[in-house]
Structure formats: C-alpha cells, structure tokens
Amino acid sequence: MKGYILKHETPTRIFHWINLVVFLLLLCSGLAVYSPKLQFLALIFGGLKNAAAAHRYLGYAYIVVPLIYIVLNFGLFKKFLNTITHYSADDVKWLKVGGGYLQPFLKGEVPPQDKYNAGQKMLGLMVIFFSCLLAVTGLLMIYYQNVPPALVRWSYLLHSFSGIFLGCGVIVHGYLAAVNPSSSKELKTMLGSGYIEEDFAKHHNSKWYQQVITKK
C-alpha cells in the first residue's frame, strides 16, 4: 500500500480485539458485583448470578487467550516487551508535557517517540502487571475453600483495585485511540488492515518511522 506502513501484524490485531472484548465483559460483570450502585451492568448477562458465573469463565479466557498469543507469536511479543521496557529521555519529556494531549494546561514541544509513545508503553506494562495480579487473585477467590481466608480477603482488595485501575487505563486508552481526533486514526489501523498512514506515523512515532524507512 502506497503511503502506508504496517504497524500491527494480523495475530496482534486479532488478539487485541479478543482480549479487549473479554476484558470489557470482565469489567462490566466485575463492576456489577463490586457495588450495588452498578448492579444494572449485570443486565448484560441476565442477572447478577449469571454475571458472577460469566466473570469466572471469562476470567479463564483472560488467562488462556494471552498465553495462546504469546506461545504462537513469541517473536512479536518479545519485540513488544522490548519496546515497552525501554525508556529514553524523550519518553520522560513526553510524560512531562502529557503527550501534548493536555493543552492548554501542559504546554511544550512533544518529543519524537518510538512505535509506542511513553503513555502507551506505561499502559502496556500496567496491563501485563495488573493482569497477572488479577489472574492470581482471581484464582485464589475461585478456589477459596483451599486457601487461608486472610489471603482471600487480601485478594478481594487487590483484585478490585487492579481491575478498577486497569479499567480506568483502558477507558483513557480507548478515548485517545478511538475518539480524540488527533490520535483516533489508530482505531482504523487496529480494526482494519494494520497499516497506518506514513504521515501519521511520521508525526506521532517518528523514531519508529525512521527505523522502518531505513529498513525498506
């Protein structure tokens, strides 16, 4: 495709959407059980009891789906992990100016970014860390009869905190990648062919763009 470069491979895109749907369903059923004020969310599942049951099964999916992706596409996962664990001075600067998204409160030049900007890198790390925490505490809560009660009670606290923190992160990520006009082109790329406009990449991920161009 002329004027476009490949950003997300097919397995990554499929995994991204399956994982997102599973996560959002988990978030809705989780929030329904989290507070009586949010019980209306259980209507998606046809009642609170079904929501709780669905939450358990979806929880297993949330563990298995990423594992399948990682095993089948270890190279891609390694590259992604490499990107999100390396931070340069530009990333620090990006965080200082809020990626330019918080104007007019945070002003300043937005520094050149890698394939993922500093915010996306941090979200990536947060997703991996809190998902692991959610998986462990979730399993403790499902198999509570074989676990010391005190451990299960701490799991309640950690599980709901991780879920809500991650939920907030995903809300902001979804807003910036799909709604906010200056960055919403990401949605079309992730949902479509995986290719992104060169011009957009040059603006948003110039370091990565240079790498791709020199390789060509």
Binding site: L38, K49, G100, Q113, Q145, V152, L157, V172
Partner: protein, 268 residues
Amino acid sequence: MAERMSVLYDASKCTDCGACSVACKQWNTLPAEKTNSLQGHTDFTPRTWTFVSSRESFENKKMQWMFRKQQCMHCGDAACIKVCSTGAISRNDLGFVVIDQNKCIGDGYCVNSCPFHIPRVDESAKKSYKCNGCPDRLANGMKPACVQTCQPEALVYGDRKAILQMADDRVKALLPKYPKANVYGATSLDGLNFTYILLREPDYYGLPANPTVPVELTVWKDVFHPLGLLMVAGAFGMTLLHRVMQRGQNENHPSDKDTGSGKGDAKG
C-alpha cells in the same frame, strides 16, 4: 426499631443432647446429613446451621467435658454485612443477621470474612447459608426453634439487657466452682446477639478472644470502595471533559505543523 433481643447459651447447663440441632433442622426443613462420629455434626454445612461441639480434657486428675453450641453469633458489627457484594445480608429489627436468599449469589465473601467462620456456600445452588435466628418464629412471638426445644434450659431468649444481667449473675454463681467462667460476646463487635456463658477461657472452646472485623475488609470497603467508584467516574468524566474542551479550540493549532506533535486539537 424494636428492642434488641438476644439468646443466652449457658455452657454449664448444656448436656450436648443435640436437640437444638435437630429442632433447627426440623423448623428450617433442612435434611439430615451423615456424620462420621458419635458426636454428631462436627462442622457447619449449608444444611447444618447449629451443632454442639465438645472437648474432653484430663487435668489435675479430674475429667472435664466441655460443650459449646455453635451457630451464627449475629454480631452487632458484622463483617459479612460489610463484605457482601450484593447487599444480601442485613440485620433485622431484633438484631439478628439474615441472608436474603433472593439476592445471594454465593460468591463466598461472607465465608472468608466471618470472624467465626460460620456461613457455608451451597456450591451447586450458589447460595450461602447460616443460622438466621428464626425470624419467622420471632415475628410471631415465639422463641427460636433451638431455644424452644432446649431441655436443660441452657438456651434462653429475651431482651438483650435482661440477658446480659442474667449472664453476669450466673457467672458470679459459677465462679467458686469454675474460676475461669466468663460471659462471651457482651461487648466485642458491638455485642454478639448470641451471648455465651463459658466455663473456660474462649481459646479453650476454639473461640477468638477478641473477635474483630478484619482490617483489610475495612480498608477495602470503607476506603478503597468509594475511591474506586470515584476513579471510574473520574476516567469517564475526564475524557468527556477533554473532548468538550478540545472541541472549543482552534482546529488549526499552530503547533500542529511541528513534527512529532501528538497534539490534542482536531486536525479535521
């Protein structure tokens, strides 16, 4: 609010006949369950809400055989009410803690939070069960089934103040023979609605000396819970606010020409 009521269990009068357990099953139409010992039930199940546990010991060349009727203690400050995710557990007018089975989803939060480890979840029905203090009987001016049937009058039902007075008097009478006799549940957890007269220290009976609502539950429900709701609302609210504010801005922001800009203004 009606006057707070209470049940007094006097371990010095109990004979471990097990009639309370049978009466409980009969009134609440709970099926009998096989037990593996002559003692009868040794633990709670979704269908066994009360039983008498016993402990033998041989001290100072004297045989001692101590009984304790076990059931929900109906705490004044109940951890299960605090932790219940669906609001299914509540305290009724008389001070007894009841589970609304229509709201219960059997997630087992109450099981792990109870300082006495009383409730049990029926995993196939996904419902949690425990003693409910026979609210249907009490509403009709009757005593709880276990109290009604107790032959040696080890169980007494009545006004909480009178019960506590009765307990104090009884312990005073017991002290010469049982120097460790004490009233259990008068003040802990805002007062337990089942008051025990014990002949030994609570530890001996397997009871916590100072039952409390676990601190992690307080942190979770009183601090984090409202904060979590605020975080979700905040994430939605801030993105919405961001969207509205960007809409008002000049579409052709000067900084848009710079390379590497991820500005939040609309490019059209």
